[in-house]
Symmetry: C2
Subunit: 112 residues, 2 copies
C-alpha cells in the first residue's frame, strides 16, 4: 500500500473519534445537516454527508440530539438538529476526557 493511502486511513481513524464531540459542540446552536457539513468543513473538520446523516440519527436515537423539520418558510424541508441537555452533559464529559487525552499525547510525542 502506498504512503498516502496508509496515511489517509490513519487520519480517517483519527477523525472518527472526534466527530461526535464536534457535532455535539456545534449543535449547541441548532443547524441542519447540509449546513453542518459546510461549517465543519470550514473549521477544518471534513465529514462526508453519508457519514453525518446516519450519525445524526444515531445521536438522536441515543437522546443526545433532538430534531425538528422546518417546512414553514415555504422552501426545501430542512431537518434542524440541536444538542439536548443530556447531550450537553455528555459533551462536558467528553471534553474533559479529550483534554486529558491531548495532554497525555503531548507527553508521549515530546518524550525523548
Amino acid at each position: 500500500m502506498r504512503n498516502d493511502e496508509l496515511l489517509a486511513g490513519f487520519l480517517q481513524e483519527m477523525r472518527r473519534g472526534t466527530i461526535i464531540i464536534c457535532v455535539l459542540a456545534k449543535l449547541r446552536q441548532s443547524a441542519y445537516g447540509y449546513n453542518l457539513i459546510a461549517e465543519l468543513s470550514q473549521t477544518g473538520i471534513p465529514i462526508e454527508a453519508n457519514t453525518l446523516y446516519p450519525l445524526l440519527r444515531r445521536l438522536e436515537s441515543q437522546g443526545l440530539l433532538k430534531s425538528a423539520w422546518n417546512t414553514t418558510d415555504g422552501a426545501k424541508p430542512r431537518k434542524y438538529y440541536a444538542t439536548t441537555d443530556f447531550g450537553l452533559e455528555v459533551l462536558a464529559e467528553l471534553k474533559k476526557h479529550w483534554q486529558e487525552a491531548v495532554h497525555n499525547m503531548n507527553n508521549i510525542l515530546e518524550d525523548r
Copy 2:
C-alpha cells in the same frame, strides 16, 4: 443504554485513532508488547492486550514497525518491536495532522 455505557463507547472511539500514533511514538525506543501495555497505561493511554497484539502485527506488515525475538537472555521469549524509518516518517505526518486537529477542536469547543 445507560449514560456511562454511552460514554465508554465514545471514549473508545476517541482512543481509536490515537493509538497508532502513540505506538509509533513510544516505539522510537524498542519494547515488547506486554511492556508497552504497561507503559502506555501509565501514561494514561489504556490499551487491551487483545487490541495491541494484532495492531503491532498490522503495523509491522505495513512496514511501520520491525520486530525481533529476544530469546538470548535465557528467559521468556519476548518479541521486541521498534519503529522503522518509514514509521518515523509517517509518525511525523500524523503528528502534524494531530496538532492541527487539536487546534481545530479547540476552536469548536470554545466557540460561543
